[in-house]
Amino acid sequence: MATSIHPTSPTSPQPTFRAGLRAGIPVAIGYIPIAIAFGLLAQSFNLPNAITLSMSFLIFAGASQFITVQLLMAGSMYWEIILTTFILNSRHFLMSAALSQRIESTSRRLLATIAFGVTDETFSIASTRQEARSGMFVLGLNTIAFLAWNVGTWMGVFLAFGLPSTLQASMGIALYAMFIGLLVPSLTTRPVFVVASLAIIIQAILHWVITPFFSISDGIRIIVATVVAAGIGAFVFKEEEVT
């Protein structure tokens, strides 16, 4: 962290908010291509622009938005889409629970605003930075991510015309490439490596062994694999520093 030359104290809200904005730049840059991909995907299915744009403004959850568009086009019922999204998003419950233990700010209005911006990516920054004990820092981080997500969606929606359809179809990988880019560099400690490998093994078993007999939705599989892998990790690695 660079030393601050601001006349205000380091805990005052504005510099902390700005530090959060700066910490969120990598997430913001990463979000733009994914949001463009989302805009393009929605366009390729002829979803009305107003719907695509309001999804990014009101929902602000990448995986859910991609899956919603895919389910809509597969002709799924609305209640199925809402249930799948709810199940898929319950992982944010775990992230908000982790953040609640970390953030020292107690203003309920601030916490409620921060809550809207909890995503896989903002969480992974907030859970690795010391400054994230300040609510204003997390708010800055979430704000820049939210802005980038919406700007990217607009770009995707209004740029879609010029791009070849094969390139549009290639955009589906963007979200997963981002997850890979976030996970792989963290696999340097043994506990993290073991937990991530466990999650993948459990997912494989659920997908190829269990699902053919009992149909389990994607969202439920993600939750089961996450909870079981993190639970085993917490049980096995008692002494070691986790992160």
Partner: protein, 99 residues
Amino acid sequence: MISLFLLVLGLALVTYLPRLVPLLWLKELALPAYMKRFLSFIPYAVLASLIFPGVLSSTTTTSSALFGGVVATFLALLRVNLVVVVIGAVFGVYAFQTI
């Protein structure tokens, strides 16, 4: 259009609630050490579960999706910026499907 917008509102609600409830009501709770370790593993476990096997059906063919995943992993191992990983994977899939 109206029903689609109502769907978006419903989705916004079920997305916001799981984010909001723990931040407002779990804060005062002193969690045991086991729960804290469990929560600290969550980001990695959830990323791994999101990636696999979802990545395999992320494009039109499993082989191109697998190729994109390999490109992303390779770039991520090189510790390049996240944007490069994303763009590299997209163009990897595009090249794979075109060639």
